[in-house]
């Protein structure tokens, strides 16, 4: 995916300057002025936008609209891939399973999920049925 150039970031911030919160506007203007003077301030601008979640959302939406996906993902480690999803390290707590029983005795088997084959009763060799169906 293409990274956005600093020029694109400056353009987006210039476009959104009127929509920026009043508290951020002077700093954005100052950073844009430094950018015009040749200094690289794109990361500082992105960092600044982080202070206001609504404005940040608008910046990211505009950045996506102009063809890139940098936003904040590439801010902390320039050049590296964006930090992605990772599993939580803990084990999930087991919720109750699907209980199947033998229609002729008390043999019970709990299935983990839909799609598992319930199998048959080892004593009567008949297919197990959902517990709710027994005694109907």
């Amino acid at each position: 995916m293409p990274d956005l150039s600093p020029e694109t970031i400056y353009r987006v911030f210039r476009d959104l300057l009127d929509e920026a919160p009043a508290s951020l506007r002077p700093e954005i203007e100052a950073l844009l002025a430094r950018a015009e003077a040749g200094e690289k301030t794109d990361n500082q601008l992105l960092r600044l936008a982080r202070r206001d979640p609504d404005f940040l959302q608008r910046v990211n939406a505009r950045l996506e609209m102009v063809g890139g996906t940098r936003g904040f993902s590439g801010l902390d480690a320039p050049g590296s891939p964006p930090p992605g999803f990772s599993d939580l390290p803990g084990p999930p707590s087991p919720t109750p399973g699907l209980t199947y029983v033998c229609p002729q005795c008390d043999y019970t088997r709990v299935l983990r999920e839909v799609g598992e084959e319930p199998g048959e009763c080892p004593t009567h060799h008949v297919a197990l049925i959902p517990q709710a169906q027994k005694g109907r």
Partner: protein
């Protein structure tokens, strides 16, 4: 001259170039050469290279880089077939190994499911001990890696992890994820696509690394030691690939859990209002429409 060239060449190397130069392709070529000509032979080659005129040195290095880069590019193109091999979709005669390997996996999964069922039943009547709770959590985690229906088992761990995800979507929603994935992909939000693409990239890289291990067997024509090294390499890559395979599987399944409604809406099918059998029937109808052109 050679040192200057290397310094200049590596000065700006980043990202993919570094990966290509010191990734599995480099291990394949460097390891193979080391095995075939031996450490002394390699040192003698290097010494001989240093005695060549500067232009010849650069020529040799450029040629080596081209070979390295071209072979890495070719292997990059083979990621999907390599992933399928890693999943256990093997050609003949490897296919003959499928049945015995699947039988071993089935035996293990059946034992784990029996134990899981016993612990769940015990939990209904009395509190589990801390050790049993831990065992139950371990089993819960471990059984996630296998398809619900044992008829869908694959002979490899990565194959089972991916197959489990595919079959879960079928069993729960009646949707065939393999068939519908391109359609759902186009409907996913940008962030979701990025996450899934990143997970797939990690998995593909390990499939590629596994493929390099497979290629390493070629060196066995010159040096039999290449066989155990290649097998170890492949086993390590396959073992490491389990984690990105799980991440990819959980993200794809989550995409179906969260965004499958968009498929119905985009295809102008009525969105199922009830879960369970009604939704499965609607999902099967939508799948059939995509596959056969008729609901």
């Amino acid at each position: 001259m050679l040192t200057d060239f290397l310094t200049e060449l590596t000065k700006d190397l980043r990202g993919k170039w570094l990966e290509r130069l010191f990734g599995p392709a480099f291990l394949f070529w460097a390891g193979g050469l080391l095995l075939v000509v031996g450490p002394q032979g390699l040192a003698a080659w290097w010494e001989q290279l240093l005695t060549l005129p500067a232009l010849a040195q650069v020529g040799w290095l450029v040629a080596a880089l081209l070979v390295l880069n071209a072979s890495a590019a070719v292997m990059g193109r083979l990621r999907l077939p390599l992933l399928r091999l890693l999943e256990g979709y093997w050609p003949w005669p490897l296919r003959l190994l499928e049945a015995p390997l699947i039988a071993l996996v089935r035996c293990r999964v059946q034992c784990q499911r029996e134990r899981w069922s016993a612990l769940m039943q015990k939990r209904e009547s009395q509190p589990l001990t801390p050790a049993e709770r831990m065992e139950l959590a371990r089993l819960e985690q471990s059984l996630l890696d296998f398809p619900p229906d044992l008829a869908d088992l694959r002979p490899t761990a990565v194959g089972n992890i991916l197959r489990a995800m595919e079959r879960r979507v079928v069993h729960r929603y009646g949707l065939d994820p393999v068939l519908l994935w391109p359609r759902l992909w186009l409907l996913l939000p940008q962030d979701a696509r990025q996450e899934i693409a990143a997970a797939r990239e990690s998995l593909d890289r390990l499939a590629e690394a596994w493929g390099w291990g497979l290629c390493f067997l070629v060196w066995a024509f010159w040096q039999p030691w290449a066989v155990p090294i290649a097998l170890l390499w492949m086993l390590l890559a396959a073992w490491l690939a389990r984690s990105p395979a799980r991440t990819f599987a959980v993200l794809v399944q989550s995409a179906f859990d969260l965004y499958r409604w968009r498929l119905y809406e985009a295809l102008h099918f009525p969105v199922p209002e009830e879960k369970g059998d009604a939704e499965r029937a609607a999902g099967q109808s939508l799948t059939r429409y995509i596959q056969r052109g008729a609901p």
